[in-house]
């Protein structure tokens, strides 16, 4: 049972420094803040190319712990090298236990869902003892929100400007990761800090690959006012678009089941990237298709319960 029962149990001290160059209202940064407060500073964040690469720009860093920028495809491999070296040094008695670090990979969806997937798969094959935090803003955000394989069907991006948006479907990374049977997987979102904190608290003390996807509402890429980040995040959960779940002991468990889901429209209509679904005229077929996909998902969840 987690020690975190309610919001009062969340850490009162915030560890990540302010004044980073992330956009106002960045849902990814909010998630990182919450995660860092739980993991603490005895960590080394191993980063792949993405928005958050700009967190540490010489000579500044918002991290009180360590940081290693690698490249877009290679962050889990960087984590492997650091973890292995720390293990070797500990076995040789060259460093004390309290000098050891939690190794945390930090990447966006562009790396996690695409270019870095091979390295992530390999890290899971090797049972690497690490945490992977993916901030998923559903596109190549740092380069101006081109579609990635995390982009949802129908979303307008810089490379899917047509009236029907992105023709592909968001890849089910959670299922791909789960197929590797790691000890722990979870989805989180910063607008549900209690759920997030409990999951990170749990993941923190397990050995092996522990992977977290944080949906990251993105004001610049999704086109909404930065003040709306929390509201959009809550809607993502309440409409059932972003299921909060865990994979533990070979089973998927949903940590929040909304019995009275809001229509997906409530979520879609507040974001510029879906404006073409409503203007100049409603694209009923696309809207219905999106609703059906969410309903089908949750029907399967309820049947499985």
């Amino acid at each position: 049972m987690s020690e975190i029962q309610n919001l009062r149990d969340l850490p009162a001290t915030h560890l990540l420094g302010t004044g980073t160059p992330m956009c106002a209202g960045c849902g990814g940064l909010a998630a990182l803040h919450e995660v860092y407060d739980i993991l603490g500073t005895r960590t080394v964040f191993v980063n792949a190319a993405g928005c958050m690469t700009l967190l540490a720009v010489y000579p500044f860093t918002p991290f009180r712990g360590s940081w290693l920028y690698t490249a877009m495809a290679a962050a889990p491999a960087g984590a492997q090298g650091v973890r292995d070296a720390l293990d070797i040094l500990r076995a040789q008695g060259k460093i004390a236990t309290d000098e050891d670090l939690q190794v945390v990979v930090l990447t966006g969806d562009g790396s996690a869902y695409g270019m870095g997937l091979n390295a992530t798969s390999g890290a899971m094959d090797r049972d690497l003892d690490f945490i992977y935090l993916c901030y998923d803003n559903e596109g190549y955000g740092n380069t101006g929100q081109q579609y990635s394989s995390a982009t949802p069907h129908g979303a307008r991006t810089a490379t899917s400007q047509g009236t029907r948006g992105y023709p592909g479907f968001k890849k089910d990374l959670f299922a791909i990761w789960a197929a590797h049977r790691p000890p722990y997987l979870a989805t989180v979102i910063s607008s549900e800090p209690l759920d997030l904190a409990r999951k990170i608290e749990w993941a923190k003390d397990i050995r092996g690959p522990r992977l977290i996807i944080a949906m990251a509402p993105c004001p610049t890429g999704w086109e909404f006012d930065p003040a709306e980040t929390v509201a959009i995040g809550k809607l993502a959960v309440e409409t059932g678009i972003w299921p909060l779940k865990e994979y533990r002991d070979g089973k998927v468990v949903h940590t929040k089941i909304v019995r009275q889901r809001l229509p997906v429209e409530e979520y879609l209509r507040r974001q510029g990237r879906f404006a073409h679904l409503f203007h100049p005229h409603r694209q009923e077929d696309l809207l219905a298709e999106m609703q059906q996909r969410v309903d089908r998902y949750w029907r399967q969840v309820e049947e499985a319960e």
Partner: protein
């Protein structure tokens, strides 16, 4: 001290073992694989304590190698050809981290067409990445160079990764007598890795590989690498001197064979230079004053050593086992730049030859012919156009293959 028969790959593995490497990220590729198999075997049999981890690609392997070295352990890895290129992004990256590790590249021609035997386009593609490069012509040299490479990489004045190159097949799978030095002597030559300030520790947080904005900071850090690489010239001479004092084998930055009284020189790298060496002996018997100049160190480029060795010679054949498509031999260009950059003493005519691509043989007759071309260049007072070595017989052989391919296609009903 043990004298035994070892392949070049075996010698590379022995070098790593004697250097007491802590960590080997690995990925198989021909003709390098025997190196990691050998080390893996020793670890499994508990003959040698280290940690070998097979990564999912060379890109990941190089990343893990750099990350581990940056955390403070001694790292070794090996690759070849396509693998080197697949990891190329990370070669630049970890050199920028100043990760002082050693890699072995077993040279193999690059695709396309895909092939197995050696030339140096693979290793020369890594020329500008910040790895120092040592090129070997014998199996003994491979073992010794791995030890030298660690001293060079870890020297506080250098702190750059080092690549040791050996040719696929010609060295990798060729057994030669190799002296395996005693561990006690190796320990005297190569003390344990002291990472100093290069480490990730809970009580000493560090940011590594951080972004910079703007050209000034970027230039500063890139210049630092360049200046450190240049210092490695002096450091190399010191290390080679120490090595000779302890082990009695001399591995200079540039090997000069029968150069002192020579009018003409062949300039070659790696194992095919042994063919040139043989040709030099034969040509000398016929009265031609010719020698062989073999740069072992390619990065940093030993321009001063080379200028000194070339001064007063009449003509020099630079035989490149590589081809910069659209320009020519890479060593030729580098040597020409080194000569142009020096004081104008009496410098020889440079004649460019390209040969040995994809392991193509360079015969004694071709060396004799190149020596003829050098003498003719002196008579003409200017060098001829660069030459691509290829014989009539080879052309006939390739034409035959083309005929077979064409006939087959016609049988299939395609165009002739």
């Amino acid at each position: 001290m043990t004298r035994t028969l070892l392949t070049g790959n075996g010698a590379a593995a022995w070098g790593a073992r004697l250097a007491k490497i802590d960590y080997v990220p690995a990925f198989p590729i021909t003709p390098q694989t025997e190196i990691i198999e050998t080390i893996a075997g020793w670890i499994e049999n508990r003959e040698f304590k280290s940690r070998l981890v097979t990564l999912d690609s060379e890109h990941s392997m190089v990343t893990a190698a750099g990350a581990a070295a940056s955390t403070g352990v001694r790292v070794f890895f090996a690759t070849s050809s396509q693998g080197l290129l697949y990891g190329m992004e990370m070669l630049y990256t970890i050199a920028g981290w100043r990760a002082p590790l050693v890699m072995v590249n077993v040279s193999r021609g690059l695709s396309a067409p895909i092939t197995l035997e050696p030339d140096h386009n693979d290793v020369l593609a890594a020329r500008d990445c910040g790895f120092l490069q040592i090129h070997c012509s014998t199996c003994q040299e491979v073992l010794d160079s791995v030890l030298i490479a660690y001293r060079l990489a870890e020297d506080a004045r250098v702190r750059l990764p080092v690549l040791v190159n050996l040719d696929g097949f010609y060295l990798s799978f060729t057994r030669e007598p190799v002296t395996i030095p005693d561990q006690v002597l190796v320990d005297r030559f190569l003390p344990p890795y002291d990472p100093e300030n290069i480490a990730f520790r809970a009580h000493a947080p560090m940011s590594q590989g951080t972004a910079v904005l703007g050209g000034s900071a970027y230039s500063y850090f890139r210049y630092q690498m360049h200046l450190a690489a240049n210092k490695a010239l002096t450091v190399y001479d010191e290390v080679a001197h120490d090595f000779a004092a302890i082990f009695g084998r001399c591995h200079e930055a540039v090997e000069c064979y029968r150069c002192d009284d020579a009018d003409y020189l062949f300039v070659m790298m790696d194992s095919f230079a042994t063919k040139a060496r043989e040709a030099v002996d034969q040509l000398r018997e016929n009265g031609l004053a010719i020698g062989l100049l073999r740069p072992r160190l390619l990065r940093p480029f030993p321009s001063d050593h080379l200028r000194e060795a070339l001064a007063g010679k009449r003509a020099v054949a630079v035989i490149d086992q590589n081809l910069s498509i659209g320009h020519g031999g890479i060593l030729y260009m580098e040597l020409a730049a080194a000569l142009a950059g020096g004081r104008r003493r009496e410098m020889p005519l440079l004649v460019s030859f390209v040969g040995g691509l994809g392991g193509r043989e360079i015969s004694s007759e071709e060396f004799f012919e190149m020596a003829e071309v050098l003498q003719q260049a002196v008579r003409d007072g200017h060098p001829p156009e660069p030459r691509l070595l290829f014989t009539e017989a080879e052309l006939r052989e390739v034409r035959k293959q083309q005929d077979v391919a064409r006939a087959h296609r016609q049988q299939q009903g395609g165009e002739g």
